[in-house]
Symmetry: C2
Subunit: 413 residues, 2 copies
């Protein structure tokens, strides 16, 4: 059996933890498995490198940014290989150019074009454990390119595809994927199996367990992804193809919803009184996209004849820039005032069974209403319903929905 | 004009210094020159990485050692490229695999086999300043290999050869090469021009300005090497072909000696009473070489019929291991006691003119005798005479010789 194991920054934060990772990899090898271990940079290394860069220049060139930050993962990979060798394993590390991950060449958020994993395969065939510097590849010209935030997850899943691994294990600091954040909902349950789409929606909705891009990759190529804890031996959550009917493990309990996610890191912008004519949304959201600001929930409402209000949410970190851009767009469009509200949060329910069951939305809205929680905005996908509520009511909303959809673990479990 | 400029670890120790280096490179570019800037790792970075490694394993595998430590130079190269860009220069960094330095594949002390500098040349032709991660190359299999201590000097000189640069400038924290260490000899003079061989002997004799390997490289291919200060604009020392007679700049002053070097980092081992028969030296020094211990001065003296004492010096850091090896060699050879003396130092005079002038050695020994300095061991090359003296007399010996050979700068100069 071949397993691609990924260990994030907190799992390799210091030498002691790297030793723990080495023990973990050792145990897998000693069970007769072959292992490719993908690692992130140690703890805060990447942030420290970015900080150095910020001291040198206000506008770091993307190419050099990638050269710089890719070194953090190389350090982890080399150290882990050494730690494995002291445990008697034949281990070799591989850096960006050696891994064989070829990208489209867009610096800082490169996409994987193809993988030539011959070198890793040869090393595996020679009986080596291969430690891989995550988050990086090279483009056609041999330039170092990084895969963006969470890129090591993508490295791991992509290598699992290329090497036809039996499983891709994502080791993290939580036990797996939960039906809600256990810090908010003490009766949240660990989800033993989850469909790719559900995981994607949960990730987008604010569950920070895994990057959505890596999940997409897994879905596309059908790689089973096991999200589990670095610090314990227990089973985590298996992300895989799950039948959309049936719900084997839930039996007759009518669990339509897999989980409740929240995201407190959003802010709302409203552009008032923009003319009701074609191209308005394109101007506003085009300007935001040009500045790489992701817009999440969008609501447009008619307030007067020929006038609309447009509200949308952005990441709070982008709020100031988004307000600025919105103001000049509003001016350009002959619109009115731009206002912002930071005291909001997004609460989402996710489940692929929802598509086949009427009344899920109604249950959600009724539950919130009965708790006196006002819904400011609504956004839906086929398997997700998100609402924007006041931040102070977020926790209550999550708990109420978790309960209403029968997700609470039995008392005392 | 094309200049390869090399900046060592202290020149890029922090962000401020990297900015200073960028200013320096900028000025060269603004004078219409093309520049390739080779950088070492920032300050203590390499030591910090080695320290991390030591925490992970007692016996770091050489391959992983090289992968790990090569990241330090990459960080510097990327940061310098960014600093140059903010100054309006088109700058790109290059890492080991991109530079085109192909090595023999011996990890940790790889030798350069060939350089395919096409990539650097293309970047230069495109009007770029190229910043290069020093100290590293790749072997035929694409593995990262480092060039050993002082490897960035070698990178710079080798690139100067490959690119047919007009000059290789080694920026360092001293003003150039001096006739003696100015901390010991206040009247030491900066040497404006020095021959490759002299520089080599001085480097071997303890002058720590530049690695001898890089000088050898320069000598072999006739690259002019300008050793100068990172912190001032003054001319430093040009290492180049110098006529062995003539001595243009010294005129009629009869300066046979270029400089006096000292090395306080030596220790002496004596193996007493070894049999006077073939193969004895081979056994002893072979065993030391197997453990990569460099032996410097060697003296063998007959103490009795069929018995010799062998004394030799090693680096103090190697002393304990050298004693151990010598003891077992002595046992094997039927020799006697092994003793060690740490209170010694090596003092050397160097000058290519010495070969053509009788009496240099006599002057040296007479001078030391007149200061009551006892000579414990002597070693000579064609252009160098080294003596081992008691450590406490080292400084006096250096000053006396500097004066005796007419090297002192004029009073008040």
């Amino acid at each position: 059996m071949l397993s691609v194991q990924k260990f994030g920054g907190s799992s390799v934060a210091n030498v002691d933890r790297i030793q723990k990772v080495a023990e973990r990899v050792s145990r897998t090898v000693e069970r007769g498995h072959r292992v490719v271990a993908v690692v992130s940079a140690m703890g805060d290394t990447t942030d420290e490198l970015i900080d150095l860069l910020a001291q040198v220049t206000d506008r770091p060139p993307d190419r050099e940014y990638d050269v710089l930050v890719s070194t953090g993962e190389i350090v982890s990979a080399a150290l882990l290989a050494c730690a494995l060798r002291t445990r008697g394993h034949n281990a070799v590390s591989m850096t960006g150019p050696q891994i064989g991950i070829h990208t489209d060449g867009v610096y800082r958020k490169a996409k994987i074009v193809k993988i030539r994993a011959d070198r890793i395969r040869e090393a595996l065939d020679a009986g080596c454990v291969v430690t891989v510097a995550g988050f990086q590849g090279i483009n056609e010209a041999g330039e170092i390119t990084t895969l963006g935030r969470g890129g090591s997850d993508t490295t791991a899943v992509a290598l699992a595809v290329a090497l036809e691994a039996d499983v891709c294990e994502i080791f993290t600091d939580v036990e797996g994927v939960f039906s809600a954040d256990p810090r908010l909902v003490p009766r949240a349950r660990k989800i033993p199996r989850i469909a790719y789409d559900e995981m994607l929606e949960l990730a987008t909705a604010g569950a920070r367990v895994m990057q959505s891009r890596a999940v997409e990759f897994g879905a596309k190529f059908g790689v089973r992804i096991h999200v589990r804890s670095s610090f314990s031996e227990g089973e985590g959550t298996m992300i895989e193809n799950v039948e959309t009917n049936g719900w084997g493990e839930a039996g007759m309990e009518r669990v339509f919803i897999r989980g409740v996610a929240h995201d407190a890191n959003q802010a709302k912008i409203t552009v008032a009184g923009v003319p009701d004519k074609p191209g308005v949304a394109a101007t506003l959201f085009g300007a935001l996209a040009d500045e790489r600001i992701n817009v999440d929930v969008i609501v447009q409402s008619a307030t007067a004849v020929d006038k609309n209000d447009i509200s949308f949410t952005v990441n709070r970190d982008d709020l100031d820039r988004a307000i600025e851009i919105s103001k000049s767009a509003s001016e350009e469009l002959g619109g009115g005032e731009v206002t912002a509200d930071e005291n909001i949060a997004k609460v989402s329910i996710v489940g692929i069974a929802m598509a086949q069951h009427a009344g899920v939305a109604a249950t959600m809205f009724r539950t919130l209403a009965s708790h006196g929680i006002n819904i400011q905005m609504i956004s839906t996908s086929e398997i997700r319903i998100s609402v924007i509520v006041e931040r102070s009511q977020m926790e209550e909303a999550v708990r109420a929905l978790h309960s209403a959809f029968g997700l609470d673990a039995p008392e005392g479990a």
